[in-house]
């Protein structure tokens, strides 16, 4: 496990897909002892149906494909895995015993799942009066949408962002990255660190945290939502900006190669205008907005003879904010990224994984551990924390209370 300031914190992670596991990855990077409580089929069936969305670790499903799904592995470093059937009476009992030894339980099931498992907040508190419980259904546990089926990409349009992002008012676009999920993940991590400090100040006591992907997405759009009530005009679309001009994405030399650029103020403009003598360095922001098409064309003409990297470098040397629109291989070879060793090749097959954007003394990727195999820590953890004997655990394994491989 990783070292870090949260090394005294034990988290039982029942979450799945993206937002929840990303939250616990952030916390495990800071040293938290994250125990993934997994169902036997959580990583898919024993025989895979097709290739997973992010491929296989090492480009090979191997003999245990469920342990090599790259999109899953990416989110599960520095954690341990206990695979226990919560629908089994003994499995539920084991889980509640684990709760008794934990600080935090996090889940992102649908609103009714924990109640249906008879594992609601009150039950968790009975098992541990100092537990912090974070639930994160798509729409929360109350309100008219609480039972709606939700994934990040359907919530994004409901946050207002999609209508503000397209090429025109008639062409709304979702982000390509399911933006509500990472927003919810970091918000959940923020909630948990707030709660553990609050509990420490209070000297104990349980805390119930209820979140929703929906509200995390809406909350990030707060400035727009306030502005729209203050009479602000409709959002500027198509890579424009209401208070910067030029501001956009421009084609460069090569196929599908692009540069992002932002002209923050008048001084920037006076410098940038030098790229084309038809541009007047004295134009104010209002005038530049009026002449935006001409300015954008001038920049595009300037860019078309330059690679995105050389254009960015040249503009940066002039003092202008500009950067290449990077693909993943571009990011991997960016000298800034390389020097700060952001991508860490620690998983099986030396697969580079995104690092931790929090750099501080006492945190280092050199002690990271790979994504655990399904149920890898069943024996270790249930012996250490709960005192079960190997014989008892083997019997649980036989009875399907715990598992270390998916069903066929």
């Amino acid at each position: 496990m990783a070292r870090g300031p949260l090394s005294d914190i034990r988290i039982l992670d029942l979450s799945h897909v993206w937002a929840g596991p990303l939250c616990t990855r952030i916390l495990s990077d800071l040293g938290a002892d994250v125990i993934k409580i997994e169902r036997s089929y959580a990583r898919g069936l024993r025989e895979p149906v097709g290739d997973p969305i992010g491929g296989w670790i090492g480009k090979d499903p191997g003999k245990e494909p469920w342990n090599r799904n790259a999109a899953f592995v990416k989110l599960a470093r520095n954690s341990r895995s206990v695979c226990v059937d919560l629908k089994h009476k003994k499995g539920r009992e084991i889980f509640l015993e684990l709760v008794g030894h934990a600080d935090v339980v996090i889940e992102n099931f649908s609103a009714s799942t924990m109640s249906n498992l008879n594992l609601d907040y009150e039950t968790l508190v009975e098992a541990n009066p100092n537990i912090i419980y974070l639930s994160m259904p798509g729409f929360g546990k109350t309100g008219p949408y609480k039972d709606w089926v939700a994934f990040g990409p359907i919530i994004e349009p409901m946050s207002g962002l999609t209508a503000a992002m397209g090429y025109s008012l008639e062409e709304p676009r979702n982000s390509g990255v399911a933006l509500v999920d990472p927003t919810s993940a970091t918000s959940a991590a923020a909630a948990i660190v707030t709660a553990i400090r609050s509990r420490k100040k209070k000297v104990g006591g349980s805390i119930k945290i209820e979140m929703s992907l929906h509200e995390a997405g809406v909350s990030f759009n707060g400035p727009w939502l306030i502005d729209s009530q203050l009479g602000a005009p409709s959002p500027v679309l198509n890579n424009g900006h209401p208070n910067m001009c030029p501001h956009g994405v421009y084609p460069c030399k090569g196929e599908d190669e692009w540069l992002a650029l932002a002209c923050e103020d008048q001084k920037d403009w006076e410098t940038l205008a030098k790229i084309d003598e038809s541009l007047d360095p004295s134009w104010t922001i209002k005038e530049r907005q009026e002449w935006a098409d001409l300015i954008n064309l001038s920049i595009a003409v300037w860019c078309e003879t330059r690679t995105k990297e050389s254009a960015a470098e040249e503009l940066q040397n002039m003092g202008i904010a500009a950067g290449p629109v990077n693909t993943v291989p571009d990011m991997f070879k960016d000298p800034q990224v390389e020097e700060r060793k952001f991508f860490v090749p620690f998983e099986r097959a030396e697969t580079p994984m995104p690092g931790n954007p929090i750099k501080m003394e006492g945190i280092d990727s050199s002690d990271w551990t790979r994504c655990p195999d399904l149920g890898e820590h069943n024996f270790e953890l249930l012996e250490d924390w709960l005192g079960y004997t190997p014989d008892e655990l083997n019997q649980f394994l036989e009875e399907g209370v715990i598992a270390n491989r998916p069903p066929s």
């Binding site: 992010g54 790259a70 990409p153 992002m165 923020a190 805390i207």
Partner: protein, 343 residues
């Protein structure tokens, strides 16, 4: 109560907002505003409510103020701008420093903006249409996420009662939140690129035009049967072109066309109602004005009403403890530097 000194713009402001909304005593050093996506009034209300604001540019006095704080949240436009403040010499137990590219590295002094960081961090290449320019995500997502990481780090260090200098790079925040984009390259040799509103790998997951707007559906394989019921096209269930996700991917254009035809004349309300009945994931594209009237958010008492701004709806931060709503926020209060943290 934590005493937090905040210097900077959108990132430090967001970090300070989280502290202020969670009960800390946050003092912000007033700054000239940078170009924002919204008016200063809206941004100040959102970021700086419940903070104290000090109008002081004397760095020695600010340094003295920092010596009374538990935490400094400092956002610099570059590593050199941080260095120019001499913060490494400041006597404050915790320093959470946010910069566009981090405090080290060959680009540590590059100029940046949100759209530049989204581009360099791999987000922009994934958004927009394949035959058009990539789309940059508007707004302050990058800055707010960096502020959120700074908040997480500062609280973690405080919990452990550690002194620390925390280096948060905005670019690295974007790259850390990269979905499956990076492994799709390193594990499947595929460079993720733009597909408009089509999520591509899970079909149908796309936006469709309906009678009075747009809806987005996200049909993972286990929702396909329900989707067929939602579309009121039962014949699709036995159509071999659409039997599996792989076959739906192979015949995506035909399927998208069929879905578009099926819902073009149906209203958003009717589609939403059908989606609820059939239990499929569907979201309606909403404007900010519509979000403000969303009955679910109203029923959950999500909005805060700032003191003195009757009727104004401001989003709460998205987590509450024990279902307790926070007190109404009040606009930042300008105070004299000498009045802060005395005694």
């Amino acid at each position: 109560m934590d005493k937090v000194l905040e210097i900077g713009h959108f990132s430090s402001g967001f970090c300070g907002r989280l502290f202020a909304q969670n009960g800390a005593d946050v003092v912000r050093i007033k700054q000239d505003p940078l170009p924002s996506w919204v008016t200063s009034e809206a941004m100040d209300l959102y970021l700086h409510s419940d903070k104290k604001m000090v109008d002081c540019q004397d760095r020695d006095r600010i340094r003295d103020l920092a010596s009374k704080a538990d935490l400094l949240v400092f956002e610099g436009t570059s590593a050199d701008s941080v260095e120019s403040w001499g913060i490494d010499q400041w006597d404050v137990p915790l320093k959470s420093i946010i910069t566009p590219f981090g405090l080290t590295g060959p680009k540590k002094n590059w100029r940046s903006s949100s759209n530049v960081l989204l581009a360099m961090g791999g987000y922009t290449n994934c958004s927009g249409d394949p035959d058009k320019a990539p789309l940059s995500i508007p707004g302050h997502y990058v800055e707010f996420q960096a502020g959120q990481f700074a908040y997480i780090a500062a609280n973690a260090a405080s919990f452990a009662e550690e002194s620390a200098t925390i280096d948060v790079s905005m670019l690295e925040c974007v790259m850390a939140l990269s979905q499956f984009t990076t492994v799709q390259w390193s594990c499947a040799d595929h460079i993720r690129s733009r597909h408009g509103n089509d999520f591509w790998w899970v079909v149908p997951t796309n936006m469709f035009t309906c009678r009075d707007g747009w809806v987005f559906i996200n049909i993972t394989p286990n929702f396909w049967d329900a989707c067929v019921a939602f579309l009121q096209l039962p014949e699709l269930i036995i159509d071999s072109r659409f039997e599996t996700n792989a076959s739906r991917m192979a015949n995506r254009d035909e399927l998208h066309h069929i879905i578009q035809e099926a819902i073009a004349k149906v209203t958003k309300e009717e589609l939403r109602s059908r989606a609820t009945e059939c239990r499929i994931p569907l979201g309606v594209v909403m404007t900010f004005e519509e979000v403000l009237e969303d009955p679910h958010l109203l029923a959950r008492d999500f909005w805060q009403e700032p003191i003195g701004k009757q009727g104004l709806r401001m989003p709460d931060i998205p987590f509450r403890f024990d279902e307790i709503k926070r007190n109404p926020p009040s606009a930042a209060q300008l105070v004299d530097v000498d009045e802060v943290w005395n005694g």
